[in-house]
């Protein structure tokens, strides 16, 4: 145990204090480096290679075959319907989540005991896992023990059970309801942070100038909330485009594969059709789209900070 006084080492002609600190920094980041290189960089390179090769689940690596995997995935019957369905779902969920999130944020932003309790209540579903929430909804929408359909039937208000998951439209709406319930509190929180960042004197000035609540919202709240809204938009759009758990558990793509999302197509290509090559080609497409979208929205976010 030699005393670790920097000057003593320098005087002994060892490594300088500066170099030693650099070396220590490198040593401390070795675990990060290993994890990132092994489980992030390597699979990133591997998925690119796999998308360019024939690669079956059981037999593994085959010959280079570009562009066969990409052509095959674009001709896959599930692919284009899944793309459209995923976009449709993303648009609906994003509008509802941002709208409700903003509404909730305005309702709970005050510093009062009641507002704090409300904030906790709206955040509670966020703490649940998406799989757990989807299984909850699976029972909730069921014709045998759900709290909506069976009681209405017993009261004679409806004839048969309500088909919450039987048509593609009702399945989309039911899944959307679940996702909005689970995530509204999360977007509320992001927007509360944004609202609390708006100086109070701006609202006072608006009310002194005789602005109505609607005018204040339109000309003070919304413009100043733009950075928070943009962040919420990025998270909501990217999250929804990658939807998997909720449809895998609630609808399994039914009815007639009308609720299959893009990520579900990756899963089916890989583990049902056992073609890792085409699954990788689709993974690359998803990756490129998401990175482009992130870059685009990030620029938008940056731009909104400047004005």
């Amino acid at each position: 145990m030699t005393p670790d006084v920097p000057d003593a080492h320098a005087a002994r002609g060892g490594l300088s204090f500066f170099v030693r600190r650099q070396l220590m920094g490198f040593v401390y980041t070795i675990p990060t480096l290993v994890l990132v290189v092994l489980l992030f960089v390597t699979p990133l390179l591997l998925v690119a290679k796999m998308s360019l090769s024939s690669w079956a689940l059981l037999t593994g690596e085959g010959a280079y075959n570009f562009p066969k995997n990409f052509v095959a995935i674009s001709r896959n019957q599930l692919f284009w319907p899944a793309v459209w369905f995923t976009i449709e779902y993303t648009v609906v969920v994003t509008i509802l989540l941002l709208g409700l999130g903003l509404g909730l944020a305005m309702l709970v932003q005050a510093q009062s005991r009641w507002a704090n309790i409300m904030r906790t209540v709206f955040l509670l579903p966020v703490s649940l896992g998406l799989a757990a929430a989807s299984l909850l909804a699976y029972g909730f929408y069921s014709p045998s023990i759900g709290p909506i359909s069976p009681p209405l039937e017993q009261l004679g208000l409806i004839q048969g059970p309500i088909g919450f998951l039987t048509t593609s439209l009702s399945a989309l709406m039911s899944t959307t309801f679940l996702v909005v319930w689970k995530y509204a509190g999360f977007y509320m929180l992001i927007l509360v942070v944004g609202l609390q960042g708006i100086p109070d004197d701006l609202f006072e000035a608006a009310s002194l100038d005789g602005a109505s609540a609607r005018q204040t919202f339109r000309y003070v709240t919304l413009p100043l909330l733009r950075p928070s809204l943009s962040l919420a938009l990025i998270l909501c759009v990217t999250g929804s485009l990658l939807a998997f758990d909720q449809f895998f558990i609630l609808t399994k793509g039914a009815p007639d594969n009308s609720t299959v999302t893009v990520v579900q197509v990756i899963y089916r290509e890989a583990f049902q059709r056992q073609n890792l090559g085409t699954a990788s080609a689709l993974s690359i497409i998803v990756l490129v789209v998401l990175v482009l979208l992130n870059a685009l929205q990030f620029r938008f976010l940056r731009g909104s900070d400047r004005d």
């Binding site: 005393p3 670790d4 006084v5 600190r21 650099q22 070396l23 220590m24 920094g25 490198f26 401390y28 980041t29 675990p31 990060t32 994890l35 990132v36 489980l39 992030f40 390597t42 699979p43 990133l44 998925v47 796999m50 309702l107 507002a115 409300m118 906790t120 709206f122 955040l123 579903p125 703490s127 649940l128 896992g129 799989a131 757990a132 299984l135 909850l136 699976y138 029972g139 909730f140 069921s142 045998s144 709290p147 319930w181 999360f186 929180l189 992001i190 942070v193 609202f203 204040t216 928070s228 962040l231 990025i234 990217t238 990658l242 558990i249 990520v263 990756i266 990788s280 993974s283 990756l287």
Partner: protein
């Protein structure tokens, strides 16, 4: 007045509206508790209220004790890996700049740009090659890797907030960098560690996609995948009660942790919200 200052609605409508919304948000959670003890023909709980559904769930597949143990193991391991890696990394990124440190930090953050779904297929192949197929360790490593951007960022800003004089005086007193980290820095970043640990736990406990693909051995399954399989157990009859019992078992730890550590929970989300 303060409740409603920017919303432009009166006091009574405000309480009615928020109270009504609160009931709507709480209702599904309370219903799942109720449904888990409710009777359903053809299941373990046919007449009256009771814990028959929990008994069904307890004995399903590899059995609840083993499945829950798998979940606890994966969550604990993920938390441990995430904490150690991000605390060491965050300390270095905050205090010891070296050639390439900024590049490594950016590379770590860029994990956020790449969707998990795009990496799951090559990760599956890679873990098989490393002999980590059907391995709880493999799943924990993957989940921990996806926690790294948030965790490293969080730990870096936590370490950066500590005044430099504190460690400098300790160094002059003869402490090495590691003992400075262990004795002086870590106690000062406890809130950051709790936030990182909490998020890592919730991510691992609730992860569905990675275990679904990586863990095909029924004895290695974690709660979310096992509980999703549970509903299809008996021929024809979907056991909704047992499914809701599974939801309760999965949700209770999350809800308790959330209520106990709400401050840290909100703090974690805020750092994300402010970062933009």
């Amino acid at each position: 007045m303060s409740n409603t200052q920017h919303t432009g609605i009166g006091r009574t409508p405000y309480f009615v509206l928020t109270g009504g919304l609160a009931i709507i948000f709480l209702f599904p959670l309370l219903w799942s508790l109720f449904a888990s003890v409710s009777p359903q023909p053809g299941t373990g709980q046919t007449i009256g209220f009771g814990f028959g559904n929990y008994a069904t769930m307890f004995l399903f597949g590899a059995g609840l004790p083993l499945i829950a143990l798998n979940s606890i193991f994966v969550s604990g391991l993920t938390v441990a890996i995430t904490l150690v890696v991000s605390a060491l990394g965050g300390y270095a990124f905050a205090r010891f700049k070296f050639w390439g440190s900024d590049a490594l930090f950016l590379l770590t953050l860029s994990i956020l740009m790449v969707p998990f779904a795009s990496l799951i297929i090559p990760l599956y192949v890679l873990l098989n090659k490393l002999g980590l197929s059907n391995s709880l360790l493999g799943v924990s490593l993957i989940i921990a890797m996806y926690q790294l951007p948030f965790a490293t960022f969080m730990m870096r800003i936590s370490f950066e907030a500590i005044p430099r004089d504190l460690e400098e005086s300790a160094m002059i007193d003869g402490c090495g960098t590691f003992s400075v980290l262990w004795r002086i820095m870590l106690p000062s970043v406890t809130p950051g560690l709790v936030t990182v640990g909490l998020f890592a736990f919730l991510a691992a406990w609730n992860e569905f996609f990675a275990p679904l693909i990586m863990l095909t051995d029924p004895n290695k399954q974690t709660l979310p995948v096992a509980m999703a399989n549970l509903r299809q157990q008996t021929m024809g009859v979907i056991n909704y009660g047992a499914t809701e019992a599974g939801v309760v078992v999965m949700a209770v730890p999350c809800v308790i942790l959330f209520l106990l550590l709400q401050r840290y929970y909100v703090r974690g989300f805020m750092s994300g919200a402010v970062k933009g």
